[in-house]
Symmetry: C2
Subunit: 238 residues, 2 copies
Amino acid sequence: MKLDICFSPDLLPRYELASKVVVVVDILRATSTIVTALAAGVAEVFPVATLAECAALGRERGCLTAAERDGLPAPGFDLGNSPFGFLDPARPVQGRRLAISTTNGTAALQQSLAAEAVVCGAFLNLAAVAGFLRQQGRDALVVCAGWKGQFCLEDSVFGGALAERLAPEFDVKSSDAALAARHLWQQARPDLAAYLLQSAHVRRLNSLEASQDFQFCLEIDKYAAVLPVWREGRLVSA
Amino acid sequence: MKLDICFSPDLLPRYELASKVVVVVDILRATSTIVTALAAGVAEVFPVATLAECAALGRERGCLTAAERDGLPAPGFDLGNSPFGFLDPARPVQGRRLAISTTNGTAALQQSLAAEAVVCGAFLNLAAVAGFLRQQGRDALVVCAGWKGQFCLEDSVFGGALAERLAPEFDVKSSDAALAARHLWQQARPDLAAYLLQSAHVRRLNSLEASQDFQFCLEIDKYAAVLPVWREGRLVSA
């Protein structure tokens, strides 16, 4: 089996998705938040492209709604894109359905649906993703949500961390993208937060909330058994 | 001034080109070969997308023709895509015009023409590129030709080498792509050839000719004063 990495959803037309497992990753913060939501007991997640669809799912199907644009909570929704929104004892989410719309992550997911299987990856559930890929025994493609279609450091470094975990079983050397991502991960690993703070767009998330989110999203294997998997139009825990 | 790197021509729609200087790079081998051709005395270079256009320029305008597809010389043309084709004393190229069609490099060039200025970069002329960018004093974008639209290691590492040279004068930290490319360059620098030979597509170029080309294309500043610049439909030496 081969592991490859696509650094931007805009490059997806260059990849054959059929028969592959796709791992969608948007570390800051869509996939980290979705993993956290399922870990907190959310029953199913509807990722949608537009704020209007998100609001409609809230109105018509009783979904909890979460929406973010350009890194900020969108007004008029229950939650923004912070994982901490799902960890507040004052607002239990157990058994709820969630509609979520984010800038980059949702789009990456929607564009990956031609694959045999689609899961969400984050540092929080790295072990779950690696275990699923080993068990599936198929070629895998990490799809980085990126930042407005451009390369972004944290998603790519996650791809490298996954390649490192899977190197014993997967071919992670026949793709230049996987090679490069693994090298970046090897540089980042000793101090992941400091490494990623070199990124200007990460530093831009410098509000107190965003800074807490950032630290949280870098915890490796906090939810090591939680795997959001795409089934019939929604994400559920595998 | 800011230096950014675009890892694939497919991502160009995400970048504003107007008012920028674009550096097109296809280390193996289009831009290395074009630099060598101009260094050897070729007067002007017409990069074309199709083999038919290349042949027509040979027939109708007396151009020397060079063409490659999937890493191999295309049949029926004077030359393939090897820089050594321009260094053969038995076939002097001084003053000739050249029509060249290559898989990835020509396409990257054609897609970059909305920029204020377009030049060709290679390890062979790194100093010339850096000097031109300093002198222009504009934002710059390195456009990696990549491999069929996908990320490729040697073009990206070149981008990192350029970022390293320009770090004193340019902002090379506000783009994640430039950060990552610079880190890759720092890893590659101690033994550039060994580093790039990790790449499966580089290893695939394992014929004797390709291996000689590979070593040649990694010579830094062999042609430190040669700068192919786009002027009125052709590349000329600046």
